[in-house]
């Protein structure tokens, strides 16, 4: 978004996906941390250049959270 982005930005943005109507639920904090830690490990396999790792993490963590770990909201199921 802007220069305010940092590591925590990804977590919080992912959690708020439920209010953006992108997912129907978010997991408990501990569970999400565990799963997202694993996602970082997975990303290392895809991105062996460790120098790039922080950028991959910062830009991708919220997408990872949405795509891989959250139950996605069915299309057309909007409560508004």
């Amino acid at each position: 978004m802007d220069d305010f982005e940092d590591k925590d930005e990804g977590w919080i943005h992912a959690i708020f996906a439920v209010l953006r109507n992108e997912v129907v639920a978010v997991p408990p904090w501990d569970s999400m941390m565990e799963q997202l830690d694993q996602a970082v490990v997975d990303q290392r396999f895809k991105h062996p250049n460790m120098d790039q790792m922080s950028n991959v993490f910062l830009s991708g963590v919220s997408k990872l959270g949405r795509i891989r770990f959250f139950e996605k909201k069915p299309q057309g199921d909007d409560d508004e």
Binding site: D2, I12, I15, L19, D30, E80
Partner: protein, 182 residues
């Protein structure tokens, strides 16, 4: 091009005429923008008042449309009206509670089970937070505004906005861990 396909800025030009076509154009703008305005207000207020404040927002926008200097910025302008309206409603509700002796000095004591069962942990946490922190979190992570856009909406400087956002995130994390760990 029919009105529903017309960009905001062109619709605003029509609305400013305040004639029959302007009313039709405003109807299109309301249809286009009311879903996100309602979402914003619902997340800010966490009460059924959101619908009423939404109506007030669009009435104010209609009455004050001449004050919108840059027609292409209709969305941001309406957002500002909605955010200010939400804050006024929040303050009024707090005053009413205080007058009735119902101020909740310990919001953490509010019941959580029903909300958690419906996967509403995020909303529960927002309800626990001070309004100013809830407000900045909603603008950042639901409306996905930049720091400068938030600063403009709230009438704050960018440094003050960043500080408020950092504090809000810290508090949110503490409450979210607490809520989701039960």
């Amino acid at each position: 091009m029919t009105l529903p396909q017309t960009p905001d800025a062109e619709l605003v030009v029509l609305v400013k005429l305040k004639n029959a076509q302007g009313k039709l154009a405003y109807g299109v703008l309301v249809d286009r923008h009311q879903p996100w305005v309602f979402r914003l207000l619902k997340n800010l207020l966490q009460t059924p008042d959101a619908e009423e404040v939404k109506q007030e927002t669009f009435i104010t926008a209609w009455l004050d449309i001449a004050k919108l200097l840059f027609n292409e910025r209709f969305r941001g302008w309406v957002r500002g009206i909605a955010v200010r309206g939400a804050y006024r409603r929040y303050r009024r509700a707090e005053l009413e509670k205080r007058n009735e002796g119902q101020v909740d000095l310990n919001p953490i004591s509010s019941p959580l089970e029903d909300s958690l069962e419906s996967d509403n942990a995020v909303r529960v946490v927002l309800e626990r937070m001070d309004y100013v922190y809830r407000e900045v979190l909603v603008l950042r992570y639901v409306e996905e505004l930049s720091v400068s856009e938030i600063a403009e909406t709230l009438g704050l400087g960018e440094s003050a906005t960043k500080m408020r956002l950092l504090r809000a995130r810290e508090l949110f994390k503490v409450h979210y861990v607490e809520v989701t760990r039960g």
